[in-house]
């Protein structure tokens, strides 16, 4: 691809367009003919039991994996074949458990998000410094900006990697279980940041396990099971009692949050469960 023909904004809508994509690790088929789209300004939650293919799907979108069949388009181009730098300018991925073996500071790590906008030696320009400060502020990290990331708490560390993704100034933000291993307050904060990013015009796609958080924060939910999309739509459409039992194999009670009106599902477990004690 020659430089003057690199694609740029405005990006086609939907910016994420996956059609009949398939991916297998060896013999194990992780994603089996999935079609999935997401638009700018939209917060989409990917739900499903373990092994349903959620993480594989966002890796296909990020171009880290190639589909063995079907197509994946990110901003209209193939993210696996495109130059990594171009992909990184369009799409940021926040991994589930970001690893950090070297003692980089918070500001160093957030600045790494600027790599795709910089030259070979990563010399920071005015834009870079501005984007980093903006991301630090948005994630409430200025007070720890000079500290080593490995010295932070789990919640703070997660925010650092979210800030790095914001500093990347992408149009698509992929979050792999942004609330895993966090306490309730940090889970809510993580979801709020993701929701704000979508309100700011980003296309946010998050792999989520907590159905109620997903129902409360996401515009749209996509439920996967065994590599296939089994339900898609608004939280109240996807999280019905039948669907949840079908996808997760768990009987639930469905209701509404009296304060927000959000759909709520609660598993029927315990001694007062209609199915009897100890029976899922």
């Amino acid at each position: 691809m020659s430089p003057h023909r690199l694609p740029g904004p405005p990006w086609p809508s939907p910016i994420v367009d996956v059609r009949e994509a398939r991916h297998a690790y060896g013999r194990r088929v992780a994603v089996d003919g999935v079609s999935f789209t997401a638009r700018e300004g939209e917060f989409v939650g990917l739900l499903g039991p373990n092994g349903a293919g959620k993480s594989t799907l966002i890796r296909l979108v990020a171009g880290l994996l190639a589909p063995s069949a079907g197509t994946v388009r990110l901003g209209g181009f193939d993210p696996h074949a495109a130059p990594r730098k171009l992909v990184a300018r369009v799409c940021a991925l926040v991994p589930q458990e970001p690893r950090l073996d070297w003692p980089f500071t918070v500001r160093d790590v957030v600045m790494m998000g600027r790599s795709a906008h910089q030259g070979l030696l990563g010399i920071a320009g005015r834009d870079d410094l501005g984007a980093v400060e903006g991301a630090l502020t948005a994630c409430d990290l200025q007070h720890v900006a000079g500290r080593r990331v490995d010295a932070l708490s789990g919640g703070e560390r997660r925010r650092v990697f979210f800030a790095r993704a914001l500093a990347q100034e992408p149009r698509v933000l992929l979050l792999d279980e942004p609330t895993a291993f966090l306490d309730l307050a940090h889970q809510v904060a993580a979801m709020e940041m993701a929701r704000l990013a979508a309100r700011g015009g980003l296309c946010v796609v998050a792999v989520l396990h907590d159905l109620n958080l997903a129902a409360a924060a996401c515009d749209r939910l996509v439920a996967l099971r065994e590599g296939k999309v089994v339900a898609e739509g608004s939280p109240s459409e996807v999280l019905t009692e039948e669907r949840v039992r079908e996808v997760w194999g768990v009987p639930v009670w469905r209701g509404q949050n009296g304060a927000t009106g959000a759909t709520v599902v609660l598993p029927n477990v315990g001694p007062r469960s209609p199915a009897g004690p100890g029976v899922p």
Binding site: P83, D108, M112
Partner: protein, 348 residues
Amino acid sequence: MTSPRRSRLVLALGLGLLAIVLAVAGSCLLGPQPISLRAALDGVEPDRAILFGLRLPRAVLAAVVGFALAGAGTALQALLRNPLAEPFVLGVSGGAALGGTIVLLAAAGLSAVSGPAGALLGSAPPVAAGAVVGAMLSTFLVFGLGRIGGRLVPEAALLVGIVFNAFVAGVITLLKMLAPPDQAARLLYWLMGAIGYESASTLAVGSVLVLLSVGTLGLLSARLNLLTLGDEEAASLGVDVRRTRALVFFAASAATGAAVALAGMVGFVGLIVPHLVRRVVGPDHRLLLPASALFGAAFLVAADALARLAFLPLGTEPPVGAVTAFLGGPFFLWLLRRQAREHDEGVQ
């Protein structure tokens, strides 16, 4: 790179250069035969011959080797995401030694048939080429076998390197049996990591190769920062991981191969120096890599001078590889223990 960091870079490089100058000066002026710098500069013999013919070239050679090994070590640590990685530990030096040995023995064999052809093959450039090729093949082998399920497992790569080292040592011992006695003795001394000045052309070829390869690593240093995060993260931040890694492999192997061709197997320089420098300048490879290379140069010049001076009363001198192994072995174990402890704390 932000401006306070730029000034730190200048400071680190300035101090590194100063350390090299001091080490080289010390190495040149100290020795069994006291010499006068003024006399040497005025061309008075034997001062001039000792300074310019023996001590200065030797110090420069040690500096080039230290520069190469510390630079390669820093890059390999980033690639393996482990501070225990180092050309010697990973078996890259061993592979280079094997490559060089094979060329030397082939030269010995060839000279039995045709003297000039054998001498040509046994000269510096072919031996250096053999060492570089050996280093590259062993790098690919070690990093290839260090993959489990498509993922590079640092601990596995380190183990493969250690086993590969033992294997190479055995092969070299077997090959030595085939060599004529005078060749075998020369080979042994070379492999032990002896800084001995042979010829200006050897030094020139080696220096150019080292400068090019460590320079390449320097250009890749911002990407090395991203590679320390892991392949997937580096890729999602915009790094072409495969190509970058191949370039780093290539450059680190070339630097190691050149160092081995110049001075044999000098271990642990690439472990000790980057670790100490990292404690001062931090983990940013744009600072760490050039600073480590410079301090590596100063370190090896000093270690070589120390080895010479310490054994002066015995009228002999040990190869510098023995000195660095003496310092580096315990250092490696200390790092390993510390890493295990930190891992434990991390788990809790």
